[in-house]
Every structure is written in structure tokens, then in C-alpha cells.
Amino acid sequence: MSVLIFIDQSEGHIKKSSYEVLGYGAAVAKQIGTSAEAIVLGAVGDDLASLGKYGVTKIHHADAANLNSMDAQAYAKVIAEAATATGATVLVFSNNVNGKAIAPRVSARLKAGLVAGAVALPDTSNGFVVKKGVFSGKAFAHISVNTAIKVIALNPNSYQPAVTGGTAEVVKLATSVQPLVKVTATNKITGQVPLSEAELVVSGGRGLKGPENWGMIEDLAKLLGAATACSRPVADAHWRPHHEHVGQTGGSIAPNLYIAVGISGAIQHLAGVNRSKVIVVINKDPEAPFFKAADYGIVGDAFEVLPKINEAVRKLKGA
């Protein structure tokens, strides 16, 4: 019996969401009285043994070159076989881009019930029940898993891992899979915090009037170390790239702080951001529906308010 945690990497670097699942998986293991092990696929530049500080005792590393980029079919096979070999009864993934591809395959392969989008540790007082987000952030469901093996995909930024100290034993895992999906090009924005991993997000809407006015949004994001996002009309008008679009049909995010500037807060936009822990709304329309979902609000013209905020942040940061 054990808990097996999937560590996701990109170009050899362990993703932030992987630290969350390591801490979460270790907590689940403690809860059900077993040990936590982890598995990572592809070449990794970061130190794996030190991940023991999150509470995992052993890390299985399948470092075959053909696993450097993610192929859900090959990854699921390797992970499911490792789960069987280690006698895992709970598998933990991040519900990030790769977790969404791999976890369902592993679930179907092992006939193990999946909770995708978990937001809390399981309740094991009576069975195995996991809380997850449903209705695009407007509600939660408690899902009861009926099978001997359980698969959990944890929503990013919904669990704060505890660091305990310790070193994990790293063991090599031989594989013989043939990935069928070939990655031929990668187009990644560098030098910026990826939106899906950002703890702080500054977002702009139609109220900013045009792409030429995004300088003050970018300034604030840079001062805070935040990612930038936008509303749907802004992405549709090509003022900003599509990957910045958050909302019902765009990305769904759950940062600690979401600052919305010139966004009215239509229900479709809220669906993508209402899991944010603190929401700040700056809008010149006092009737903007977004104020009802906000924690802090300023009724005012972004062009007057935002430069003053940037100045105050600059002073605070001593920049």
C-alpha cells in the first residue's frame, strides 16, 4: 500500500503545481497510514532527492529520452504500471494541462475512480469522499470514490504544501513505451510568470480602450511579479493574445490575488476567476456586477487610478 504522486516537469524543470501535489499526496498518505512515493518521467535538471522535504520517501525516475515531452498514452502506461508495482491505492496528479491528459487515462486503465479538480484533502471518516469544484466555480461537489484504487487530480493553487525536511531515495525506472504523439515546435512566452501558475494576476478589460494602454497593466504586473490576463472582448479584438483570456471560454485560474481593471464582471468572466482568493475591482461604473464578487473595490477611472497605484506599489517595494 502506498500513495503515488506524479511529478510534472517542463523542459527538465519541476512545475510549481508539482510541489503542491507532493505535499498533498504526503498528507493523504499520513491520513490513511501509509507512505508516499513519487514518479517523474523524462530528463530532469532539478535535484530530485531534495523533494523528500515534502514527505515523499522514494522517487521513481523514468528518464528515457522519448519521455521528455508528454504523450498521455505512454505516460499513463508507465505510471499505471508503477502504481501496480508499488501497490499504490491512491494516485495524485495536478489538474494542470498534463494532469488533465494523463489522470483520466490512468483512471480508465486501472478502473480506479477519478476526482478531477479536487480542492481539499479527502474525507476518509466514512468511505473516501473528495471535494471538487463544479459549475465553473459556482459550487462544489463531494464525490465518493467506490473503487479500491483512487485517482485524485488536485486543482492548482488550492493546497499549501508543508515542508518537513528529509531526503527521498531516487530509483531509476526502465521503460519500453513508444510515444505516438511527436512534439515538433514549442511556442512559449519566456520571462513572464505563466498565468496558470501565477499567485498574483493583473487583468484588463474593455475599459482600457485599446492595446496601446496596456503599459500600466504590465507595469503593475511587473512590480508585483504578477501575470497578466484579460477579458474575452479584449482577446476577441486581438488587443491581447488568446492565452491571456480568462473566463468561461478561456482559462480558469485561482490566484491568491486577482486585480481586474476595466472589466464589468459578466457571469462568463466570473466563471474563470471566482476561485481567486482575493479580488480587487477597479471600474468607473459603480453598477458593474463585478463589485458584488469583489473583496476590494475602487469606483474610478483606470487612467487616473492605476498610475497612482503603481506609484504606491513602487514606493512599497522600494523600486
Partner: protein, 247 residues
């Protein structure tokens, strides 16, 4: 080329979310039902575009649902598609639903199975991966672009902070999102034609659900917004630093 497009029925994005039966069931009273936007705007429309390029393409739609799903599948047929299959079962377990779709996919020997990246009600993002595994086929998820060159598909998919381009030989299972195609609305010819397109109803295969919904819960109401004067926006910065401790 044979394409299977998975269609799911979901509450309209503006539907009020409430629960009945001691918070174990979604309150359906007065709810408007729509085609799951990720299925409609991206999977179905992209399949129609592929058929417009190659008239020999056959598009079948599949849904897993009770008879109250029929208006939704007719609406999808009004946009496009040659015929539809409804598996007559009502379930909220991803594995049960995926098993039904995989069975239909096996029977029809489809080259491509498309579905939206998630449904906007249960937000599982699970059906695509499960169907692909049950069929033992490659799966490309969160696709933003899909092109065919013979029997090789070139697909863009989302990664953290960007996209990557992949190539895979058919058959393949693909989940779709924004970028794949532009939303369309059905025209009168489509609406009239949809009435006579075949809609086959078939009984489900026997599968055990792996999960069940124990209960629902609404998020706690926000404490209320703290308003700050536009004359002193620096006060916001102070509050975020000292009270919220976020910056």
C-alpha cells in the same frame, strides 16, 4: 474520413445554480439547457469545417443522456453533422459515460473523436482521456488548432504559458478549446434539415460507475466588498500589504 463528435447537454452559462433533495441533486427548474460550449463551438464547428474542405468526410454526433437530450442533439444537427447517436442512459460518472462513447466509437471505426476540453457543469476534463485509453489510441488534449494532411494530424495544444505543435497519425482522440474554430449559429436550412437527419437511440452497455456524487455545496457568500475612494488609491496598496498580506 469519419469523425465522431461528443455532445453534452449543460445548463446555460447564466443559469442559477441551486440544489434540491438535501443538496444531492441539481435544481433543474427553470434551467435553460444548451450544447456544452466547448463541444459546440470548437469540436463540432471544426468537424464541419473539415467536411467543408473534404466532402467525403462523415460526421456523427454522440451523446449519453435520457430523452430530454434530444432537443440539444437536434440543435447540434442543425449546425452540421450527418447523423446522431444517443446512448439512452443518465449518469454523472465520467468512466460510465466514457465507456458508452468508447463503445460507439468502436462500432463506427472513426478516424477522429472530438470533444470539448470539459463540460461547464461538472468540469471533469476526463471523458477524452478515458475514451482514448479505452480505445488504446493517442490523445491530444486542450487543442487550439487541428489540421489534417492525409492521415497525419497537426495539432496545437496548450502548455503552461504557451502552446506546442504536435504531429500524430490517425486515429486520434482530441479535446478542443478556444482557437479551434469561430462560433457559428445554425441557419434556416440547417434547422429544417436537422429534423429529418437520423437520430439513433441505443441502449447502454453494462458498466459499473466508479464514483458517485455524495452531495453539493454552494461556496460561502463573500463578506462584502470594501470600497476605497478613487482619490486615495494608495489606500488599496496599504490594505493589500497590511490586511490581506498579499503584496
Amino acid at each position: 474520413m469519419k469523425i465522431l463528435v461528443c455532445i453534452s447537454k449543460t445548463p446555460d452559462t447564466t443559469a442559477k445554480i441551486a440544489f434540491t433533495d438535501n443538496n444531492t441533486k441539481f435544481a433543474q427548474d427553470g434551467v435553460q439547457w444548451i450544447i456544452n460550449p466547448y463541444d459546440e463551438w470548437y469540436s463540432l464547428v471544426r468537424a464541419i469545417e473539415l467536411k467543408e474542405k473534404d466532402a467525403a468526410t462523415v460526421i456523427h454526433l454522440v451523446t449519453v443522456g435520457a430523452a430530454d437530450s434530444d432537443p440539444i442533439i437536434r440543435k447540434a444537427l442543425a449546425l452540421g453533422g450527418d447523423e446522431a447517436i444517443r446512448v439512452n442512459a443518465d449518469s454523472h460518472d465520467s468512466f460510465y459515460i466514457a465507456s458508452q462513447i468508447a463503445e460507439v466509437a468502436k462500432q463506427g471505426a472513426y478516424d477522429i473523436v472530438f470533444m470539448g476540453k470539459e463540460t461547464i457543469d461538472y468540469n471533469g476534463s476526463s471523458i477524452g482521456g478515458m475514451v482514448a485509453e479505452l480505445l488504446d489510441r493517442p490523445y491530444v488534449s486542450l487543442a487550439t488548432k487541428f489540421d489534417l494532411n492525409g492521415t497525419v494530424a497537426t495539432i496545437n495544444r496548450e502548455i503552461e504559458g504557451g502552446e506546442e505543435t504536435c504531429e500524430v497519425s490517425l486515429p486520434v482522440v482530441v479535446s478542443t478549446q478556444k482557437g479551434m474554430a469561430e462560433p457559428r449559429i445554425p441557419n434556416m436550412k440547417g434547422i429544417m434539415g436537422a429534423r429529418t437527419k437520423p437520430l439513433k437511440v441505443q441502449e447502454p452497455i453494462a458498466v459499473d460507475a466508479l464514483t458517485q456524487i455524495a452531495s453539493f455545496e454552494l461556496p460561502p457568500a463573500k463578506a462584502g466588498v470594501k470600497m476605497i475612494s478613487a482619490d486615495t488609491p494608495e489606500e488599496l496598496v496599504r490594505l493589500l500589504h497590511e490586511e490581506a498580506k498579499l503584496i
